[in-house]
Symmetry: C2
Subunit: 415 residues, 2 copies
């Protein structure tokens, strides 16, 4: 079995350096909500005229901040984002919504905006009351200390069991004006696709209406964050928000109000690429992982069916432990395909581990060589491809292996 | 974290001693299919007039033996059962059905019956061709050596990663004639409810038609085997067969042809009790377990909804590892309820760990005392109850914790 280390083996050696985005600035604080000696509170201040879009957890026990975001998103305007780590403010009843109200009220004072322009997100332990008085009073001070060149600081403040901050940046042309998109996110366990599956915040200086932004964000969430899983567990708190400050308008970018505008094509592609990058960064920081795993399913009846089959593989404990054990146990891929409930032709099913065909047309490949495939399993990045033989659609899902490290981390999370 | 031992901590100190059932006898052999120095082949010979019923995996990649059982069940008559362990004969293409044909042909010769009266089951590694020539020739010899008092031997021959054989017995009156029901089964990993979720064989001397038997078996499978999970993984091979030799007719039992006959009430209850006992024995031998866990969900809209919610809890890796860590992390119960997709009222949700209410009406219980509940988590049998506050239906699901032992067993299964 691969070695489990305290930092993901996929942690980048150097972090991406993100350029500033005109119209947004950050400040962080050590509020001591749960963690000691690290930042756990983030304030992002957005200039007037910023539009916002969001994709939120579909959990039936969504947290108080998620409910607030859902409400505030209706107006599509943003001036402040407040995020705390260490406590999810989920399943905290009336106290939970009170804590959100207190936070919003302090942010309104600090930034000088309307309540619906404030977005809040919380991540950490579920079920413990969050004492907003402990940190909300810090917001007025933070609002005076914001700096634009602080994406890494912001990304660090929202981490929980993450072993590295997750950041990335892209540029795109809208017309002939170059705009920037920056994003950062957190997430390592309790990660499964059901809309946004982590905290993720994306910022751009492009001038795009909230409706158009919403359409783009939701579309790309389906094929990025919603195609990534660590343990199949959907959080109560997961939130992906995107803010467009519109500052590129001053440089000549004509504001866009329709998601299907041809002018948005390059931007949409860059956004997809950024979101996929962040989704993969989350999978590569899966709790206790030793291997990053991609499942590609083809020959399915639809993209949805292919994703369901790929997720059945990616969420199978018995298959994920085999991968941790560097065992090319492709029989467990057969099992996972079979349990997915989606159409598959048992007698046309083919499976590849990396470049090696292990099963073809419903049985072990004639040229299958266990030693060769076992050697492939020593790699830290594993690609498993499946053709289910019933159609022409495909999907790709990212995940990691299931290791002793995952068990250790989650058996002791609160102690 | 509880100690992981090589034998389940729930292994019975003494195995149940099963009485003989008139009309059935067993023989076993060391065929060397995969294991060394242990039996791996079972032949059960049934007297003429035996009726049969079966519940089979719903996997889309069901094994060759499952397909054969499905076909043979249509006639409802049985004379022989052949089971091998070590190789599942699943995903073995044409070779797989050939292996079944060879096995059936040898059994027909050995027992002197028709092909549709032979039932076959295989369990073990998926995807490796099963060489039936290696063992089918043994059946003629085995047929001459069968003994009725050999349930434990039979149960041992079908084990894979099981750490103990699972056997149980019940009696019931049909009219004023006492009949016996014996059952044994195997299963420890790749266990999830989707019809039968293991190999299970049940024998009775009652005279009951195959149609009536089928109805009873399917009904009770729903609330027993289909309410039990180890890892949420559905096998390609799972098979539950029940044989009724009808020998009690000689002692005056009037044959029964309708499942809803009032005379079957006590028998039906005894059968349910036997199947529940076996299902719990499987959960108590879950791979690497240290704790046996029962989830009881109440206040749901229907039994199906309650079961779905209970299974979302029972299959959540992050919740199961918390239980392994003896951490009363009830926030993860909230998460699992939320991700189930079934109706739940966040603000009326209540949760108990054993006798202790940890959450009431959507937030932490006022009298919650972490130390008391943490002490409860030291128990080896854990009961978690949830009321989701939207209806009057309930369901119960049995499972185990997710430990380092599970990871170790499944990372190295084939090596």
């Amino acid at each position: 079995m691969g070695k489990v280390s305290s930092v993901s083996p996929f942690a980048p050696k150097t972090l991406a350096k993100l350029p500033i985005i005109d119209g947004v600035a950050f400040a962080t604080a050590e509020a001591g909500i749960r963690y000691k000696d690290r930042t756990d509170l983030l304030l992002a201040v957005l200039d007037e005229g910023t539009s916002v879009a969001g994709v939120l957890t579909q959990s039936k026990t969504a947290s108080a901040p998620v409910l607030a975001c859902r409400k505030h998103l209706k107006k599509g305007e943003a001036r402040a984002l407040v995020v705390n780590s260490g406590n999810a403010n989920a399943f905290t009843g009336k106290k939970g919504s009170d804590a959100v109200d207190i936070t919003v009220a302090h942010a309104v004072q600090a930034v000088g905006c309307k309540p619906h322009e404030v977005f809040v997100a919380s991540t950490g332990v579920i079920g413990e009351p969050l004492d907003a008085e402990k940190f909300a009073h810090l917001l007025s001070g933070l609002a005076t200390e914001t700096e634009p060149d602080a994406f890494e600081k912001a990304a660090r403040a929202i981490m929980t069991t993450d072993t590295y901050p997750k950041l990335t940046t892209r540029t795109a042309l809208i017309g002939d004006v170059e705009v920037t998109i920056n994003g950062f996110c957190k997430g390592a366990g309790m990660i499964a696709p059901d809309m946004a599956t982590m905290l993720c915040f994306i910022f751009t200086d492009a001038a795009i209406s909230s409706d158009a932004l919403q359409e783009l964000l939701a579309e790309h969430a389906e094929t990025t964050f919603n195609c990534m899983t660590v343990d199949g567990d959907t959080s109560t708190s997961d939130t992906c928000l995107m803010f467009a400050t519109g500052k590129a308008e001053a440089r000549g970018q004509k504001p866009i109000t329709k998601a299907n505008s041809k002018k948005l094509k390059a931007f949409s592609e860059a956004l997809f690429d950024l979101m996929r990058d962040l989704a993969i960064q989350v999978a590569k920081d899966g709790e206790g992982l030793t291997k990053f795993v991609t499942f590609e399913v083809g020959g399915a009846k639809s993209w949805q069916a292919a994703r369901t089959i790929a997720l059945a593989c990616a969420n199978s404990p018995i298959l994920k432990t085999a991968i941790a054990g560097e065992d090319p146990n492709w029989g467990r891929v057969v099992m996972a395909v079979g349990k997915s409930g989606e159409a598959a032709n048992r007698d046309r099913l083919s499976i590849w581990f990396g470049p090696y065909c292990v099963a073809r047309d419903g049985e072990r490949a004639e040229d299958y060589d266990e030693k060769t495939v076992a050697a492939y399993m020593k790699n830290s990045e594993i690609l498993i491809r499946v053709d289910v033989g019933v159609g022409k659609s495909g999907a790709r899902v990212w995940t990691c292996d299931l290791t002793h490290g995952y068990v250790s981390i989650n058996a002791d999370y609160r102690s």
